[in-house]
């Protein structure tokens, strides 16, 4: 469904990404992993053209996102940035904003219906008229995901969606992402630091190392070897109650 090839990006003539290539199937969650500064967020932003890669293609259902207008990209790719600005927009207004790429001069009946459905599914209805700066971190993150969903995307990009959340909210948000991806037939790409969260909720893992793809593996192929090479940390992988966990030594 998504076929990324040869993405190269540099910043002030310093290579950040070199010849990145990977693919992702429908209904799957991909975790992008790597040390700080490995280019995870940059890669995510190259996929929906927030940053312009110097070369490469991003084929989503055989259409190249990199040669589309920003609006056409926004109709296909939902994006949740790492940082949110504090605003006084209400939850409803924020999610309605996600319909922007599809909107004409006025908001249509269908737009309202989609927003209502999404807020209901995300269990945010009771917060609908509150303004964003009254919400907790977990609630805010859910609103941002709801807005990305309102873009009616085929693919969701999430930049560190759990980095500012407590354990309970981390679990909740990741569960929500995975189940929405499955039931709506989307795919999601998540940059994430927490290996254990990634192992639990992602289906495939893309490791970045020295600006390049180190490996693209499924759950079963993930090894302590890969983690040691990428992070420079010795770990053991253990199964606890059927769930693989990473334990740094």
């Amino acid at each position: 469904m998504l076929e990324v090839s040869d993405i190269t990006f540099s910043y002030h003539s310093q290579a950040v990404l070199e010849a990145i290539a990977f693919h992702l199937e429908k209904g799957r969650v991909l975790g992008i992993l790597g040390v700080n500064g490995a280019g995870k967020s940059t890669l995510l932003k190259c996929l929906n053209r927030i940053l312009k890669p110097e070369s490469g293609t991003v084929l989503l259902e055989k259409e190249n996102l990199l040669s589309m207008s920003p609006k056409d990209v926004a109709r296909r790719v939902g994006y949740v940035p790492q940082r949110h600005r504090e605003t006084r927009l209400s939850v409803y207004e924020s999610v309605l904003l996600g319909r922007k790429p599809h909107m004409g001069w006025t908001v249509s009946d269908a737009d309202y219906e989609i927003v209502e459905n999404i807020l209901k599914r995300m269990e945010l209805t009771h917060l609908g008229l509150k303004s964003l700066n009254e919400l907790s971190g977990g609630e805010l993150q859910k609103v941002m995901i709801a807005r990305a969903l309102a873009q009616s995307p085929k693919i969701l990009l999430l930049d560190e969606p759990t980095s500012n959340l407590d354990m309970k909210n981390q679990m909740e948000v990741m569960k929500l992402i995975r189940s929405v991806v499955r039931e709506q037939g989307l795919s999601a790409i998540i940059t994430i630091h927490d290996l254990n969260l990634a192992l639990r909720f992602a289906d495939t893992f893309l490791f970045l190392y020295h600006h390049r793809v180190h490996s693209l593996v499924g759950k079963e192929e993930l090894s302590a070897e890969i983690i040691r090479e990428v992070y420079g940390v010795d770990v053991i992988l253990e199964k606890v109650k059927g769930q693989t966990v990473v334990l740094p030594l």
Binding site: I50, L89, E113, N117, S131
Partner: protein, 356 residues
């Protein structure tokens, strides 16, 4: 449940009838309706105040006579007082307030900075410098003072925009550059004042007092057309502004061309600020205060914020000007003095009341 399988009724049923199906949407639309009514109320109050303000003055005119003069005329001498003497000032106050507030709001939104306004970017100081230059060095005919003030304001804008473009300054840095530029223009103005004769000095100082009584119908017409066009420009981009308010990356993710709208918007908004200042001198605080007041009333949605800011700006400046006329029996206090006096405490009050 798939979110996007929306019921495809060919009949656009009135939304309020679906309360059972879409409780949140109807609650949201109810709020929108309330805000719309409030907007109408504000608009009516502004018109009412305008008519009352026209009727005030040494030559006694009733509000009814004002209305008659506005709609067709009664053939009485009061018509002339209304149309030629009092009305221009009132309309100028309304349009200048609308323009300043629109300009403040758009600078705040485009540069993501609550301190954005024509005076924080150095636009007003640029205009004051231009006016001083014209009066002291070039002998200051009225038209040339206006032209110089306009050129000064646009020069400030051009420097800021060039810096932003060439050096790829962040929006925060743009505001800081504006502050530096303001202080540069202010000291240049002081230098010119130092060189001026006493009469010239008085003229320069008097020019800097913002005053809406200076312009005639031609200037008012020009200002009204440009403020309307720029309002339309921003109204067309209201969703883009909402996206920007949620953060730059979010806006880009929603397909907004952030650099383009920022550049176009800043040019449009500077034009308005430059015109207002060139015609009426430095009127402080309206551009800063009115958008913040509007935000407190209607939140951050630019669909509401744009019209509310505009009408609150108009209402504020007209109130200040009317107050100035009432306080000083004959003649009037320049409105710039009143806005500074009212503006600062009002702004502090807004902050203390928990502006978040």
């Amino acid at each position: 449940m798939n979110f996007f399988n929306v019921s495809n009724n060919s009949l656009p049923a009135p939304l309020s009838s679906d309360i059972s199906i879409r409780p949140l949407t109807s609650a949201f639309l109810d709020e929108v309706r309330k805000k719309r009514n409030l907007f109408l109320l504000l608009l009516l109050s502004t018109a009412g105040l305008g008519i009352w303000a026209v009727s005030q003055g040494t030559y006694e005119i009733t509000p009814l006579q004002v209305l008659r003069a506005l709609f067709g005329g009664s053939g009485q001498p009061s018509d002339i007082v209304v149309l030629n003497i009092r009305l221009p000032r009132i309309v100028a106050a309304l349009v200048a307030g609308w323009g300043l507030s629109l300009s403040g709001l758009s600078i705040q939104s485009l540069l993501k900075n609550p301190l954005g306004s024509p005076s924080t970017l150095g636009i007003s100081q640029g205009a004051a410098f231009g006016a001083a230059l014209s009066i002291v060095i070039f002998g200051g005919q009225v038209l040339s003072v206006t032209a110089f003030a306009f050129a000064g304001a646009m020069a400030a804008t051009a420097i800021i925009l060039l810096l932003a473009r060439l050096k790829r300054l962040s929006p925060e840095a743009v505001i800081l550059a504006g502050v530096a530029l303001s202080s540069l223009f202010a000291s240049a103005t002081t230098l010119i004042q130092y060189l001026a004769s006493e009469t010239q000095l008085a003229l320069v100082v008097f020019w800097t007092f913002g005053d809406v009584a200076r312009s005639g119908w031609r200037e008012i017409g020009l200002l009204t057309v440009s403020v309307s066009l720029v309002s339309l420009f921003f109204l067309f981009r209201r969703w883009d502004l909402n996206a920007l308010a949620s953060g730059e990356e979010c806006a880009r993710g929603l397909g907004v061309n952030v650099d383009k709208i920022r550049m176009q918007g800043m040019i449009a908004t500077s034009l308005v600020a430059a015109l207002v200042t060139a015609f009426h001198g430095v009127i402080a605080f309206v551009g800063l205060l009115a958008p913040h007041m509007a935000r407190r009333i209607v939140g951050a949605d630019h669909r509401m914020l744009l019209p509310f800011s505009s009408v609150i700006g108009a209402l504020l400046l007209l109130s200040a000007d009317t107050l100035g006329r009432i306080l000083v029996g004959s003649g009037s206090l320049p409105v710039g003095v009143i806005t500074s006096f009212m503006g600062a405490p009002l702004f502090l009050w807004l902050l203390v009341r928990g502006y978040r």
